[in-house]
């Protein structure tokens, strides 16, 4: 499988030009035909939000980073599981219908047991991390 370096990038160039043109048109149109009102409310930082108080760069609890880390862990898990589930879920059907990709998977040793085993390894690793975090007490917030 060879991907040529100089491929046909015309659609991408068109897309880029289209995006720039559209952005220009929208900006110009807002300026020309939008209503021009002013006032205290209009000039506020967030027109229909909370009034901003003080500096944005203030101290916050360091424990929030753990929440962020946990979020990423489970987020990645979901993103990783989704394509796996699509492939593994339709594997039997596709193989029965003699789909080329399913046959190729089977021919290269990706048996159903292998597919299950691979995702189980991933789960066990995630579980180890989860138990570790639990034992370290990061789910307690006090």
């Amino acid at each position: 499988m060879q991907v040529p370096v100089t491929g046909d990038f015309t659609p991408i160039a068109l897309l880029i030009l289209g995006v720039i043109a559209l952005a220009g048109v929208i900006a110009l149109a807002t300026h020309l035909i939008g209503p021009q009102r002013s006032g205290d409310t209009k000039m506020a930082t967030y027109e229909s939000g909370m009034e901003p108080i003080g500096d944005a760069r203030r101290r916050f609890n360091v424990r929030f980073y753990l929440v962020a880390v946990l979020f990423i862990v489970f987020d990645v898990e979901l993103i990783f599981l989704y394509p796996w589930a699509t492939v593994a879920g339709s594997y039997h059907e596709a193989k029965a219908a003699n789909a080329a990709w399913a046959n190729e998977l089977a021919a290269t040793g990706h048996t159903p047991l292998y597919l299950l085993g691979v995702i189980m390894v991933f789960f066990v690793l995630l579980l180890v991390g989860f138990i570790y975090e639990w034992q370290k007490g990061i789910f307690k917030w006090d």
Binding site: M1, Q2, V3, P4, V5, T6, W101, E104, L105, T108, G109, H110, T111, Y114, G117, V118, V124, L125, V128, I131, Y132, Q135, K136
Partner: protein, 536 residues
């Protein structure tokens, strides 16, 4: 095209290591004291089981799948990494804070597992992940290893610069993927080589150069070769001694293996003096010279060893430039065998130096400066002699294994130069630079040896009686060095045997010069794999 599924039976040693790492992590988080105390023993057990598995079960096993290709070079890398792993666990037996023992040992095992995966990795994605599996635990180890601000600073520096180098590496690999059209190294090699020779136009040439340059830049950071060596002294100084010893072997070995894989994509071993040749040449000459000059100026022994590590990376790059398919089967080996041999010897000697410095205490504090080890022979004769042997090995004094290693490194380059071609002059110049540098290096190694053996002073460092495991590790390092000094052929022959297949497969084609079909898939498996690829 779907790659072959992972051959589970071939990666059992890696699974054992990673599993033991997970177990250590969980045990470390438990409240029970007994569970925590068992952690280093579990790590040792896993490593010993792995060594037995590798030596007796997996020795001649070859196979491929899921981007991993196992061959004789993989077996050599595995065995040496696991043996060094035992020494590393001994060197890091006690931790700064007892309730972090689990993390500490687990990170060490994960890093070693990454090293075991770098050797067989034959596609860009796997290679990158394996290298990061080596690197990321080392950032954690540097921070965990000591309870002071210096370690924290060192770890932070190492982490940010390491993340930067990982980004550069990934960026470079993305260009290689673009030019080669495949993440598989052997599939993409042909188009990358054609692009580098300018056969596909200036556009492809510039992209290929960018890819090779950036990828090698990222890997130079891992092996601490100049001009990406700047972090090394601060990191080694801030880390505990056992971890500094680990940094001298695990990332360096992984980086060198990866450099060989990346260079197999280029025509640099087939007699051309292209940009890749110039890049490696400059990095080698610069690493040796800068490393030695900076090491010469250090008073702190840890910083001195750190900069001498830069110089040793430079020596090894000389043989990297020579490539795996030259030399006879005598003491002048091919470049790959020489690097494999030297990286192991350097790893052992460097670890020995650091562990001994860690065992020694001066007024209750870890001993770091040259003055503190002065006159050690009278106080701790065994450790002083061991340290002297390790320093002389690094220096390359004839009977010691460092000499045979340097002979192989420089000999392989001279053997290539002998075959003629436009690059032979440059290779000879590089070897001359390397020899001059060895002489500079002798000055600062001998300064330490002289301080150890000849000086006399009232107050000197003494061994900490609590650090028994570390002392044991140091003695084993010393015994290994002496074994390889008396029987230098043991390790050298095995490194030669491991690389024989690579050498034989590539050598006949050197005469014909770079027929674009000469694809060095890797040091692991050569082109014989190619017919299989087209069948898939």
């Amino acid at each position: 095209m779907i790659p072959q599924a992972m051959p589970i039976q071939l990666v059992i040693p890696e699974i054992v290591l990673a599993g033991a790492g997970c177990l250590c992590l969980l045990l470390g988080a438990m409240k029970s004291q007994a569970a925590r105390r068992s952690i280093p023993y579990i790590a040792l057990l896993a490593l010993v089981v792995d060594i037995l598995l590798t030596v007796f079960v997996f020795k001649n096993q070859t196979g491929a799948g899921a981007g991993l290709v196992f061959g004789s070079v993989t077996a050599f890398a595995r065995t040496s990494a696991l043996v060094l792993g035992v020494l590393l666990v001994l060197a890091n037996w006690s931790q700064a804070k007892p309730d972090e023992e689990g993390e500490y040992v687990a990170m060490m095992l994960f890093s070693l597992a990454g090293l075991l995966l770098v050797a067989p990795a034959e596609n860009l994605v796997l290679l990158f992940s394996a290298i990061e599996l080596v690197s990321i635990p080392t950032y954690v180890l540097v921070v965990l290893s000591r309870r002071n601000l210096k370690a924290l600073e060192a770890g932070t520096k190492y982490f940010y610069l390491g993340a930067l180098s990982a980004a550069i590496l990934a960026y470079g690999m993305s260009f290689l993927y673009g030019v080669g059209g495949s993440i598989d190294l052997s599939t993409g090699a042909e188009s990358i080589r054609a692009a580098l020779h300018g056969e596909r136009g200036p556009y492809a040439l510039s992209l290929a150069l960018l890819g090779i340059g950036l990828t090698l830049g990222g890997l130079f950071f891992k092996i601490a070769a100049a001009p990406l060596h700047f972090y090394i002294a601060d990191v080694y100084e801030g880390a505990a001694n056992g971890v500094a010893g680990l940094l001298g072997f695990v990332p360096k070995f992984a980086g060198l293996l990866a450099i060989f894989k990346i260079l197999s994509l280029t025509g640099v071993w087939y007699g051309t003096t292209d940009a890749t040749f110039v890049l490696i040449w400059i990095a080698a000459a610069l690493s040796m010279t800068l490393g030695n000059i900076l090491a010469f100026r250090q008073d702190n022994l840890k910083r001195m060893l750190a900069y001498s590590g830069v110089a040793h990376s430079g020596y090894m790059l000389v043989a990297v430039l020579a490539g795996p398919m030259t030399g006879d089967s005598g003491s002048v080996s091919n470049g790959l065998a020489a690097v494999l041999y030297y990286a192991v010897i350097y790893g052992i000697a460097n670890l020995a130096c650091f562990v001994i410095l860690g065992v020694l205490k001066f007024r209750g504090l870890p001993c770091e400066s040259l003055r503190e080890v002065g006159g050690l022979l009278r106080r701790e004769p065994a450790l002083a002699l061991l340290l002297a042997v390790a320093m002389l090995t690094l220096m390359g004094v004839p009977p010691l294994p460092g000499f045979w290693g340097k002979l192989g490194l420089f000999g392989s380059a001279l053997a290539v130069a002998q075959s003629g071609g436009e690059r032979s002059t440059w290779l000879v110049v590089l070897v001359v630079v390397a020899l001059l540098n060895t002489a500079i290096a002798a000055a600062y190694y001998l300064r330490v040896v002289a301080a150890l053996l000849l000086y006399e002073q009232d107050e000197t460092a003494e061994a900490d009686p609590l650090l028994e495991a570390q002392s044991l590790g140091a003695y084993i390092c010393g015994v290994l060095l002496l074994i390889f000094a008396v029987f230098p052929s043991v390790l050298m022959n095995s490194s030669l045997a491991a690389t024989n297949s690579v050498m034989n497969a590539a050598t006949p084609q050197i005469a014909q010069r770079p027929a674009a079909s000469v694809v060095v898939a890797s040091q692991g498996e050569l082109n014989p794999a190619k017919p299989q690829l087209s069948q898939r």
